[in-house]
Amino acid sequence: MNKIMKADRAFFYGLVVLALGAFTFYISSSFPDLPEGHPGPGLFPRIIGACLALTGLGLIIFRKKQDVEDHSLDGQWLLVLMLLGIILMYPWLHRFAGFLVALAISVFGVALLLRIIWWKSLVIAVLTTAAIFLLFKQLLQVPL
């Protein structure tokens, strides 16, 4: 059972690459041609799509059976999704609360997810934000 799972992971990667290639090819086949029938903006995406699809096939066909126990995909999925959630919210926070607050909140959240105790996280968030503000905005005049 375990062995099949391992083999399936390589299969899964190959399948995703194959599907991406097919999708790319499909979308780009609607791109217009240049006058006189010469290939236009669709040429390269089509080639890339076809190559991706072939590579995906190759990955499936030539996948190796691994004997080593594979734990690479078990971990804290929930925390990963929460981390992505924080980053997804960043532009929204940035627009409504401004750079300083948005960055401090995001860093605070990330520090919590990295299993840092809450008051330390708060200190890290404030200090990091302050340091970046001083370095970028004040010293280097970066618009933030």
Binding site: V80, L84, I87
Partner: protein, 498 residues
Amino acid sequence: MTDLFSFQGIMALVLGGFYGAIFGAIPGLTATLAVALFIPIAFFLDPGVALPAIIAISSVAIYAGDVGSTVARIPGTPASAAYFGQLFRLSRKEGPLYSLGISAMGSAVGGVIGALLLILTASLIVMVARQFSSFEYFWIAVLGLMAGVFASGGSALKSFASLLLGLLFATVGVDPTLGFPRFHFGSPQLMGGLNYIVAMIGLFGFSEVLNHVFKPDKDYEAELDTEGNARSFFIRPLLLVVKKKWLVLRSSLVGVMVGFLPGAGADIGSWVSSSIEKIKNKGKAEGEDDDEIILAGTSSNNAAVASAWIPALSLGLPGDTITAIVLGIFMMKGISPGPLLFDQQPGLITSLYLTFIISNIVLLPVFGYMSALMAKKLIKTPMPLLLSVVTALCIVGSYAINNDVYDVWIMAGMGFLAFFLKRGGFPLAQVVLGMVLGPILEQNFMVSAIKSRWDLTSFFDRPIAILLMVMTIIIIYLGVRYSGRMFQKTDIEELTED
């Protein structure tokens, strides 16, 4: 243009070296990440300060990767992974200052050889490149892509897949030659294309944060005291270098050659060199030749750091991920790399050359000694703390490049992609290579084809173009023939994943 020997210039070198020492020493933080997180700062500095700082960062960081191997048996950067076992064993036997001394002196000598070859060959290549038209640039891009497929050291199929992903990302947005918007799915942000610098911050920086949140690294314990003195750091290793001068020279040249190939860089350089020594010394007892293998790997990876700049400066093509960032900085500053750079900015070129020499002769030994002494403390910096700061820098960095908050999404998406790619054994540098070379390949193909009215035989008309094509075929032939054999023994895939 700020002078290298101004206060600012010297500060950039010193701070860059220090920053590189910290990032290199800590496992999981690579030289590429150090430079990627430096991007937002670099964009707003004078290029005369920013580029020397990047050279200092990368030179010192590649060396400092050995500090992690010495102290905790964890290579600090992938470029150190080729010989970390030997390094650890030697530091138990002869003391960490001696083993790090070998790696610092080897790095310095390798770095200087790489820099000298950079100085010599870059100007030569520029002379040839002045004759280049769109046909030659097309072939150069093809050559770079093919080299990238086989230079990863892992499965050629997987690195081809990574490369294709990069090429696909490069087609997002308005087609620069024909003005047609592609793969934007109605979003004006995507119509602007995917900035490869933003992508790199996600691929190399944010993915580390994701990794750690997903599955925290085991706490590593520093097992060693950094005993020994300056003599065992400087003098004895130097004597060894002199004794093994041919080995050092050979490894440095291998490093230069590998570093020159797009997509390969320091990581692969040290693998090839130390594998050569391992194969040569097959008969010897275990542990006997540790110093030679370390010397080979360490001189080779620093030579590769310098030689990756050869194609970057002379042709505008990146030799590794660090020079890809450098090219991005050039573009943001309105400086076009390639033959014109040597005419327009001779001062900049000279100061870059000087920086390489200074970084390797002065900074490497000084920061090398310092970080060897501080190693124990450095390595104990808690990872979560560092990664919190890294997250903040990733956000600010991706935002500051184009003042667009939605670039933060692109950054995070690329981080998530890297998270999966790493777990599937797909190399990341090839994605960046594809993103950088893709537009060059496509634009020069389209321009050449339209210019010649779709007479495709014109791609085989010009002598330099034919030469480049032949080189491409040779690379494919050698790659197919040797790539599997060379690396199967070392199991590179497993080791470079960390």
